[in-house]
């Protein structure tokens, strides 16, 4: 059993290319398509809960601030927000599953969320294993 982070990106500049014709931003979709997408996300989390695999799901505001230590006794330095940042994380799911294959299957099902016209958006989901506890028996 291991935990995996499923990362959703708004925009990616690294990694594989998107499927052509699936890049339309959600604010340009028809209202019923937005509704269907939101409902799909809720249902997905519920299904994962029913399977006993759900740990966490969080969405992030698109804009954030960079913060840095600036020496003893000085206030932190801040920079941003950067509205045109290229790489943005939209949110994440955390799942607890038996195998890496199952983590990939869950990520693929999330990537099949409906987009414009109800067609799957084929969004790339980044799957990252959590570091866990070391096993007791290693010899």
């Amino acid at each position: 059993m291991a935990k995996y982070l499923l990362l959703k990106h708004y925009r990616r500049t690294s990694g594989p290319e998107n499927v052509p014709g699936t890049d339309l931003p959600i604010d340009q979709w028809a209202p019923e398509d937005v509704d269907a997408h939101v409902r799909f996300m809720q249902d997905w989390a519920e299904q994962m809960r029913e399977r006993g695999e759900f740990v966490d799901a969080q969405a992030l505001a698109p804009e954030g601030t960079f913060v840095r230590y600036d020496g003893e006794g000085r206030p932190p330095v801040t920079d941003g927000p950067f509205p045109e940042a290229k790489e943005l994380i939209a949110g994440w799911m955390v799942i607890d599953v038996d195998t890496p294959e199952r983590a990939h299957e869950a990520a693929a099902s999330l990537s099949a969320a409906p987009g414009p016209g109800g067609r799957p958006i084929h969004e790339w989901i980044e799957v990252r294993p959590f570091l866990g506890e070391p096993p007791v028996v290693t010899e």
Partner: protein, 385 residues
């Protein structure tokens, strides 16, 4: 009379719950319905015993759980025949408790369940832990763990149980619980040992004793395995005066008893390797030649890439690092900890630079923060002599 105000109350319920469940299941109760009935009976005990403590807590729980189960069965007309079976069963004798442990464990570790489901169901139904405690041990929300357990119960309820139960499947699940390594509110290693002790008392199988010995021989080193700040200490560098000699003695006794029955198995072989390490007063005194012989046995009994990897390290210690590196060539690249083993062997040869590089690769591929930090320190140590 029960002391319903001390800590002993929760412990007592935790001990009695699985016993009562065992009786109900043995008498033909549907597993999922029986488990629900026991949980309801336990809740009723928590409500009623403080004002009205029973003289015979176990019989009280059994009576209440049985009534709830029969009510449940009666309410479902389709289950009429099951009800008759429950009522026709004779009353249990005290000696049947050991059989119940085996029966319950083989239900909870049924091969139709995924490992995680079997682990969760075993801890709840046989370990007597609450859903919240199991959830906390595995760092998932309680609602998720509740679903995992109820799905597991449904899966098990749909299975036929014509066979006496697969002890191998039970051993695998108990091993998983032990090896999980989490120590939260509930110490899973202790819990696995407790359950394996119950199983050992209920069976005559040297592999059960072998697994129990393996657990005790590793558990004996728990205080030496980490520094006070939580850093991992490899076997060769552990302070052996911190090892629990009583547990080692018990483990060795159990193992010798198992080996004498002449039915070798993988857990006995693994326990024998652990015993050889525990037996050495210093790392240098380890009998590596014998360790390698036991790995040969393990390769024969239960070959796996991990066994081959551990064998290569043992060969390196017994016959020199170059021999170890030759053995390592047979281990596939994607086996976890392969680079760490290769790094150690290269360091023994004197190839510091290559060793440092491999430690860094191993750190990047580590599956736990404790291992990552340990391997990062090894790379740093070699690069900054």
């Amino acid at each position: 009379m029960v002391d319903v105000h001390g800590d002993g109350f929760a412990d007592l319920l935790r001990e009695l719950g699985p016993q009562v469940l065992g009786v109900l299941v043995r008498r033909g109760g549907d597993f999922a319905a029986a488990e629900d009935a026991v949980q309801e009976a336990l809740l009723e005990a928590v409500r009623r015993w403080p004002d009205d403590p029973p003289h015979e807590p176990r019989s009280w729980l059994l009576t209440v759980a049985r009534r709830k189960l029969v009510d449940e069965v009666r309410s479902a007309t389709a289950r009429q025949r099951r009800e008759e079976r429950v009522q026709r069963e004779p009353a249990p004798g005290p000696t049947e408790q050991a059989d119940d442990t085996l029966l319950l464990l083989s239900r909870c570790c049924h091969p139709a369940l995924s490992p995680a489901s079997a682990v969760a169901l075993t801890l709840r139904a046989v370990g007597g832990l609450t859903t919240r405690q199991v959830a906390q041990a595995f760092l998932v929300p309680e609602a998720t763990m509740a679903q995992r357990i109820s799905r597991a119960k449904r899966t098990v309820s749909g299975q036929r149980f014509d066979q006496p139960g697969d002890v191998r499947a039970v051993l695998r699940v108990l091993y998983l619980i032990f090896n999980e390594g989490f120590t939260g509110e509930v110490d899973l290693a202790e819990e696995a040992i407790r359950l394996t002790r119950q199983l050992a008392a209920a069976t005559d199988d040297p592999e059960v004793d072998g697994l129990l010995a393996l657990m005790l021989l590793h558990h004996a080193r728990r205080r030496a395995r980490r520094t006070p700040t939580g850093d991992l200490v490899p076997l060769a560098e552990q302070d052996r005066s911190l090892w629990d000699t009583a547990l080692i003695a018990e483990g060795v006794d159990l193992l010798q008893g198992a080996l004498a029955r002449d039915r070798m198995g993988e857990y006995q072989a693994q326990a024998a390797i652990a015993a050889l390490h525990d037996d050495a007063a210093t790392a240098e005194e380890t009998d590596w030649v014998q360790v390698v012989e036991w790995y040969d046995e393990l390769v024969r009994l239960a070959p796996s890439p991990v066994v081959l990897l551990n064998r290569a390290v043992a060969v390196g210690a017994a016959d020199g690092p170059l021999a170890g590196l030759r053995e390592l060539e047979q281990v596939p690249d994607d086996v976890p900890r392969r680079e760490a083993a290769a790094a150690w062997l290269h360091e023994q040869v004197g190839e510091r630079e290559e060793a440092a590089r491999l430690y860094a690769v191993a750190a990047a591929r580590a599956t736990s923060t404790a291992e990552r930090d340990h391997l990062t320190r090894q790379a740093a140590r070699l690069r900054h002599p």
